[in-house]
């Protein structure tokens, strides 16, 4: 059922549920306070990157109302939070799959078969690089500082290197 009429005044849809549970809110408040203690009093907005990271660690992505909250705690506008969030590739502006898989295909890794590994993963996960489903987000990424132990990938920031087909199978088949 429509909650807003096409030409009527805009009615913001009621938020389905609050952003945080009371316990989560407590953790968020304490962690933000700790972050802010690391910067000069008049430079609160310097904590933007770590504060967005905190939000993402708690929610799995950056919901708009979360970014608004972060901005208000840092004395910044929501636009500033969004500007930062959209600049850096590790922030998720949309809810990603349960596992975010980042495969490096930069030069040193490609010289050790990274493109072939990515093709294998695309087939295994049934996704093209850049696509996502509930369980996986599959992305091609840039050098992860594992060029000497190529090829490599990260699953939700956990690092895996010197990958063979057998190792890839083992890692992915074991994911809960």
């Amino acid at each position: 059922m429509l909650t807003t009429r096409p030409f009527g005044p805009y009615v913001a849809p009621a938020m389905a549920e609050p952003l945080f549970t009371p316990e989560e809110q407590k953790k968020f408040d304490a962690d933000i306070a700790d972050l802010l203690s690391r910067y000069p009093e008049d430079r609160k907005s310097a904590a933007m990157l770590p504060a967005l990271r905190l939000l993402q660690e708690m929610k799995g992505w950056l919901p708009p109302e979360g970014m608004k909250l972060v901005a208000s705690r840092l004395g910044a506008t929501p636009e500033r939070a969004y500007e930062v969030a959209s600049f850096y590739v590790m922030y998720h502006l949309k809810k990603p799959g349960k596992y975010v898989v980042d495969v490096c295909t930069n030069l040193s890794c490609s010289l050790w078969g990274a493109e072939k590994m990515l093709a294998y993963l695309e087939q295994k996960l049934g996704l093209k690089a850049g696509e996502a489903n509930e369980r996986f987000t599959l992305r091609e990424t840039e050098c992860l500082a594992s060029c000497g132990t190529a090829p490599c990938l990260q699953i939700n920031e956990d690092h895996h290197e010197s990958l063979t087909r057998a190792k890839v199978d083992e890692i992915f088949d074991k994911l809960p």
Binding site: P40, L49, Y88, T105, N106, S108, L111, G113, C147, R165
Partner: protein
């Protein structure tokens, strides 16, 4: 050439049990240098670092002592130290091992540098993807606070120092020092126009020294073993040892600590290091200092991996990332991948870089896919020149050196492997077919 016998100083504890703990670091004599430094006058320390010929390991090879001496002494503003652990230059993977296996060596360097510079707050900026290195570094910082290395009184002396770790969020450009400062200020990583340089106007508008992780890990050794010894390890203009990262088609990739006069061919072929090429293959091309450094051909490998020697070859020792490509690797495909990286990572502030990097990528893709036309090579070279002409290095038309970094590979690949580009256009296909990635490119 070196007056001091070579020994590894930065990597000596890597791989040993608990090498990352305070206890082990102290057992190896750790934090003795800080104790010694705190007995000296700050200008004396800066002088020692100058005389040591320590040069920045982040890419530019700038003399560290000189950089420190640019910080104004009489400024009423607070001063900052920002440690560059962004380590995102393709082919570079050394700082992560310092962070993982010997973080206290870097922390001791930080404390000495901070005391010498009159800095009371240090931020260690690590690339966002460094989860495990950040865990190790954070644990070490915690230990250092508990042991009174950081805090209100550093080793009991009337000198306060706080040290915080900050993680980035995935942006190569934040390794550029002014983008790093913007990011530390909680903004998107847009490089600033220089001058003013960070030493004068840096973080929060205050004097700031930006140094690489490896650079700072060298500092305790200078204080501990003396400036003659340290400078003697290196060449005339580059003191100490250096970490080089060997990757690509070579039998034993890895990080090796070498003396500054070690040549590329020694690194690739010596039993101590790379152990040569896979059976039946020869070197075709070597990128000597991270993907931004101009590529060298197989007949140019007798060059030392030191800043001045590389400059003579019109290339860079850079971040120490040495990438080897064998004679079955496609140069067009390789350059295309490198070009794509810079197009992806350009921050978009300057027109030549924003428009030029994707343009290069499109042209290279066209050539690799067999659709290239004879004029494309001239056009490619023109596009690269409009971002940054070459040679020499450093003529970029852009705010930061990412522009140069994007143009230099194009210029140098075209200079050295032009016939391969022409063959693609002539044959209207990639001569390497579906095997462009060399001897190890097939994955098993």
């Amino acid at each position: 050439m070196a007056a001091t016998a070579f020994e590894p100083i930065i990597s000596s504890a890597w791989g040993k049990p608990n090498s990352w703990t305070m206890e082990e670091y102290r057992r190896r004599g750790g934090y003795k240098a800080l104790e010694k430094a705190l007995e000296m006058q700050p200008p004396q320390i800066i002088d020692l670092v100058k005389k040591s010929n320590l040069r920045g390991r982040g890419g530019a090879g700038f003399p560290t002592g000189l950089k420190w001496s640019f910080v104004p002494k009489d400024s009423p503003k607070p001063k900052y130290l920002a440690v560059n652990g962004d380590e995102s230059e393709p082919g570079t993977f050394k700082d992560r091992y310092i962070l993982e296996d010997d973080p206290h060596m870097m922390l001791e360097g930080i404390a000495i540098a901070a005391y010498a510079l009159g800095v009371h707050t240090c931020y260690v900026y690590l690339r966002g993807e460094f989860k495990f290195p950040a865990e190790r570094a954070n644990a070490a910082i915690k230990e250092a606070y508990a042991a009174g290395i950081f805090g209100k009184k550093v080793m009991g002396k009337d000198f306060a120092l706080d040290c915080y770790l900050v993680r980035g969020a995935g942006a190569y450009i934040c390794g550029e020092e002014t983008a790093l400062l913007e990011s530390l200020e909680g903004k998107k990583g847009w490089p600033r126009l220089k001058p003013p340089f960070p030493a004068v106007v840096g973080l929060f508008g205050c004097p700031t020294v930006v140094n690489n992780v490896e650079t700072l890990a060298n500092v305790p050794h200078i204080i501990n073993r003396g400036v003659e010894w340290y400078a003697g390890l290196g060449t005339d203009k580059s003191g100490g040892t250096r970490l080089v990262c060997l990757s690509g088609t070579v039998n034993r990739p890895g990080v090796y600590e070498v003396s500054m006069d070690t040549t590329l061919s020694q690194l690739i072929f010596d039993d101590k290091y790379g152990r040569g090429m896979p059976a039946g293959r020869k070197v075709k091309a070597v990128i000597p200092g991270g993907s931004s450094a101009p590529v060298l051909g197989a007949d140019e490998l007798d060059v030392a991996m030191e800043f001045e020697a590389m400059k003579v070859k019109q290339t860079m020792a850079g971040s120490g990332g040495v990438i080897v490509m064998d004679d079955s690797t496609c140069m067009v495909r390789s350059l295309w991948r490198v070009a794509r990286f810079y197009a992806e990572e350009s921050c978009g502030q300057c027109t030549p870089c924003r428009e030029g990097t994707p343009w290069q990528t499109r042209l290279l893709r066209k050539i690799e896919e067999g659709r290239g036309e004879p004029e494309d090579l001239e056009l490619l070279s023109k596009v690269a020149s409009s971002i940054a002409p070459y040679p020499p290095i450093g003529l970029g038309n852009t705010i930061c050196a990412l522009g140069d970094a994007a143009a230099l590979p194009t210029h140098s690949f075209l200079m050295r492997f032009r016939d391969e580009f022409e063959a693609h256009i002539r044959e209207k296909r990639c001569p390497f077919g579906d095997k462009p990635w060399g001897a190890y490119g097939d994955w098993s």
